[in-house]
């Protein structure tokens, strides 16, 4: 007989996610993922000036802040056939690198690490042994015995106060935690250091975009002008500031993040390198153009699709094709004019809220009916995983460098077969490796910007700023790779106003409910087969769900075989 579990709220994510799972013989047999919050922003941007939309949709997410803004200006520029100046492309790339560096580091230490790191165990560590271990990991200077001893004292003080704050009611002491006390202490120290570091790297957004979170963008380029002879513009002082922040970011990634990732990966690889794989198809739109947004071959991250984990072939993807990407609402709380079974290409997408679930407060959702605010996107009717793992796999299969060599070297260092990539650990490792690449690319973009500024200071294409020359009707798609995966914005413009706006966001691919045929999306699929030591404690569920870095509000529940949904209850 099965045991059911509900996890709601899933914490250490962005947004509201609920997960329900059915556990049999210590393993997850069924899982349901539900997004439990909606705001209807696609409805709100209708009839607005297309130049304003980046600001509205930017507010979809303050964690991968700026990614929706970037994708929105790309969509409008695509509709009007605007090519931005080289400087603007490089500044946008630098800002996108900043999002990756910030987001991935914060995800690893502050959203994901506590799934692998036992904070209370760090109190048992010998600071001298932790120091020796840390010095073997890298050259990071904060590694003395005294340093670790101070960190330990600080944590001890919090514990002894009886007020554990964010650490209260954690899963400390759970047998699935495998790090030594010294490894835990190193990780806790770096948790605190990353917390302090992360507030610096975002200053690159502040320099070019005026603030962070939610920096400014404009259609046609970037708002900050370059003038090397002016205090009020991007000048050598501002550029030197950016360079310093990029250098510090690279050092932190190379000397702290990657060594910690390898340390933790090395301990957990044998269990978690075999589970959590989920759907076997991977989508990446690619990103970081070096010769313009329209020259996909110039992207640092290639575009394409992997099917059935076959790394010998990369399939093309065309976001404009009405036959490829479609969104379904069979299990989602929306209404389509063509009925519940229809699939709509986003250009013709509809957003009409239609809640049919139980009235809150409720204990259970009905999984035989609609059960989520997340729509179900499909590529040629197939579920796709998106995110760092998809990007690295597409790059690997396409033979792109430096991705391929980096993946091969890492597998060798951890003594793992290529199949281990399709797992919870594979996903977490791909995110770290990608961060290393982005830290290097950011310095390349910086050098290119310096070179370009010598002969060209333009930041904006003015031709189409005033709406007078716009075509009466236009449509465009903006594609990007947000830290969490493939992101697409589709805009239709008529009489200088937005006629329709649809977004297919990364977590929509990953967290969506099943489709009409019963095919599972990435979260639900990845949980199947996951061992659960104690159904009252959802640590293992968090590991796999967090490996995707979800960006929504969801919840997890357990349900029984008769279809009645119960909150944390045995059905023996």
């Amino acid at each position: 007989m099965a045991e059911k579990i509900v996890v709601d709220p899933i914490t250490r994510i962005e947004g509201h996610l609920r997960i329900e799972a059915e556990i049999e013989n210590g393993k997850i047999k069924e899982a349901f993922s539900s997004g439990t919050m909606v705001r209807g922003i696609e409805t709100i941007v209708r009839d607005r000036d297309p130049r304003d939309v980046w600001a509205f949709v930017g507010r979809i997410c303050g964690v991968c802040t700026s990614m929706h803004s970037l994708t929105s200006v790309r969509a409008v520029e695509n509709a009007f056939n605007i090519t931005i100046p080289k400087n603007a492309e490089l500044v946008r790339n630098l800002m996108e690198c900043t999002v990756y560096l910030h987001d991935h580091v914060v995800h690893f230490y502050h959203l994901h690490a506590l799934d692998w790191v036992d904070v209370l165990s760090s109190l048992k560590a010998d600071p001298a042994a932790a120091s020796a271990a840390a010095q073997k990991l890298s050259n990071w200077p904060n590694s003395s015995k005294g340093y670790f001893s101070d960190i330990q004292t600080r944590i001890k003080k919090v514990v002894e106060s009886g007020q554990l704050g964010i650490f209260a009611n954690g899963y400390w002491g759970h047998p699935a935690y495998k790090l030594t006390p010294e490894q835990n202490l190193i990780a806790v120290a770096h948790y605190l250091e990353a917390l302090e570091w992360q507030r610096n790297v975002v200053k690159i957004h502040t320099i070019f975009g005026g603030k962070n979170p939610h920096p400014n963008y404009i259609v046609g380029g970037m708002p900050a002008s370059i003038n090397l002879d002016e205090a009020n513009a991007i000048n050598s002082e501002r550029l030197a500031f950016v360079k310093k922040l990029l250098d510090e970011a690279k050092t932190f990634v190379d000397q702290v993040y990657i060594p910690d990732l390898l340390m933790i990966g090395g301990v957990y690889k044998n269990d978690w390198g075999k589970i959590g794989g989920g759907v076997s198809n991977y989508l990446s739109y690619g990103d970081f153009p070096t010769e313009g947004y329209n020259d996909v071959d110039s992207y640092k991250m290639p575009r394409g699709i992997i099917l059935d984990r076959d790394l010998s072939k990369v399939h093309p993807v065309d976001a404009n094709s009405p036959e490829e990407i479609k969104e379904y609402i069979y299990r989602s709380w929306y209404k389509y004019s063509a009925g519940d079974k229809a699939g709509l290409h986003p250009y013709n997408g509809e957003t009409e809220l239609n809640y049919t679930g139980p009235k809150p407060p409720y204990k259970n959702l009905d999984f035989n009916d609609k059960y989520s605010w997340v729509k179900t996107p499909r590529w040629k009717d197939l579920p796709m995983e998106v995110g760092p793992l998809s990007r690295m796999l597409v790059a690997y299969a396409a033979g792109a460098e430096p991705q391929k060599t980096l993946i091969n070297n890492t597998l060798k260092a951890l003594d793992l077969p290529a199949e281990a990539l399709f797992s919870t650990i594979g996903r977490t490792a791909a995110r770290g490796l990608e961060t290393k690449l982005v830290a290097d690319w950011a310095l390349e973009f910086y050098d290119d910007l310096i070179k370009n500024i010598e002969s060209d200071s333009r930041m904006v294409d003015h031709k189409l700023w005033s709406g007078e020359k716009w075509p009466k009707q236009a449509q465009g798609v903006g594609l990007s790779e947000a830290p969490r995966g493939a992101l697409a914005h589709f805009v239709k413009i008529e009489n200088r106003r937005v006629k329709n706006y649809q977004m297919v966001v990364p977590t929509t691919w990953n967290a969506s409910p099943r489709d009409e045929k019963g095919n599972l999306s990435a979260f639900e699929s990845a949980l199947i087969g996951t061992p659960v030591h104690d159904p009252k404690i959802p640590l293992e569920i968090l590991r796999t769900i967090h490996s995707f870095d979800p960006c929504l509000a969801c919840a997890v529940h357990l349900y029984d075989e008769k279809g009645s949904y119960v909150h944390r209850m045995d059905t023996f």
Binding site: E14, M37, V38, V63, G165, R199, V202, G210, S457
Partner: protein, 359 residues
């Protein structure tokens, strides 16, 4: 909160008839559980006899987490100092270790143990058109906030979502998003607007509460005067260009490259109350105008519907909270000269009103 009579854990034990011997035994047991040396028991006892850090419950409703993201970027104090030395952030879905039932337990433990003492911080708006538009653990946002506010000492509404509904409340407000003060009537609500608020402003509000033990002085819109009594326009370093009639006409034009005033590009600085020009963003690095973009007015109620953003809007409440530009009979958005004249007139009106208010 100046005369806070919060009982320490030890005092609570005494009140409940627990003897000192049992209390010390509990401390020793705690030390064992955490794998500490026996000597730690004395330290635990000492800490529990002292006053506790202020407990905080931070709710996430209809939001994008930008307020939490801004908060973690604070530079003075830095977040770890705040979290581990000054407050006890017992519930925040973004950072807390536990999930599901254990997360709910953290919230309920604090609500019971620190009844009337904890601070409630809210990020996000509350949908009322259908409560199912935002649910956590099966409860609606409205149910959650009403329950958590019941025994809170005070409520802080972070950001534009919680203080005025923000982007989801923009026309046509499909989910019926409401700010906190429209739902919670019986508790003091401090509005800290902005999308998001500046990190140091958020930390500043916390520090004021902790250091001085009372709510900072608020204006009529419940905003802390320390951070929201000045218009961005009045504190803008480009203000001299406005006064001299030097304006950017188009992004990246020659005037933009000289850092002239962005008023004609739609800057909302003249109608926006915030600290961007003074404290600036991310440890004082820059702010939107300094980086070439007009102010969007993100700390103002209903700023999303004062669009298009890149045009002056004659119906905009352009010169302060007293009157719209149209009401004082001047057409804005036509000639800049008229704009400057209107600006001067309304500034004077505003000053007079302020003087009157002070009296």
């Amino acid at each position: 909160m100046t005369n806070r009579k919060k009982l320490t854990v030890y005092e609570e034990c005494l009140k409940k008839g627990v003897s000192r011997r049992d209390f010390l035994r509990f401390c020793a047991a705690t030390a064992t559980i955490f794998g500490l040396k026996a000597s730690a028991a004395a330290q635990i006892a000492e800490a529990l006899e002292k006053k506790s850090r202020i407990p905080i419950i931070w709710l996430h409703l209809q939001e994008c987490t930008c307020c939490s993201e801004s908060f973690i970027r604070t530079s003075h104090p830095i977040l770890s100092t705040l979290l581990f030395d000054q407050v006890s952030l017992d519930y925040t879905e973004t950072l807390m270790a536990p999930a599901g039932e254990q997360a709910e337990k953290s919230k309920h433990d604090t609500m019971e143990k620190y009844k009337g003492e904890y601070l409630l911080m809210v990020e996000g708006s509350i949908p009322v058109k259908n409560e199912a538009y935002c649910c956590i653990n099966g409860k609606s946002a409205k149910q959650i906030i009403e329950e958590a506010a019941e025994n809170a000492k005070a409520v802080i509404a972070w950001g534009n979502c919680a203080s005025s509904g923000c982007v989801q409340a923009a026309n046509p407000n499909p989910t019926g998003a409401k700010p906190v003060h429209k739902i919670i009537k019986r508790k003091p609500v401090i509005n800290v607007p902005g999308c998001p608020p500046i990190a140091e402003v958020m930390a500043g509000v916390c520090v004021h509460l902790l250091t001085f033990g009372r709510i900072p002085q608020l204006d009529s819109l419940r905003r802390p005067k320390a951070f929201y009594s000045r218009r961005v326009h009045d504190t803008c370093y480009r203000r001299a260009n406005f006064d001299a009639g030097l304006f950017v006409k188009s992004f990246d034009d020659e005037n933009a490259k000289r850092g002239y005033c962005l008023y004609e590009m739609g800057c909302r600085g003249p109608s926006t109350y915030n600290s961007c020009g003074i404290i600036k963003w991310n440890e004082g690095v820059s702010y939107p105008i300094q980086s070439g973009h007009p102010c969007l007015g993100c700390s103002e109620d209903g700023f999303w519907d004062n669009s298009p953003f890149y045009e002056r809007n004659p119906t905009l409440n352009a010169y302060g909270i007293e009157a719209t530009a149209d009401q004082i009979g001047l057409a804005i958005g036509a000639a800049t000269a008229a704009g400057i004249a209107a600006h001067a007139v309304t500034t004077n009106i505003r000053k007079k009103k302020l003087i009157k208010n002070e009296e």
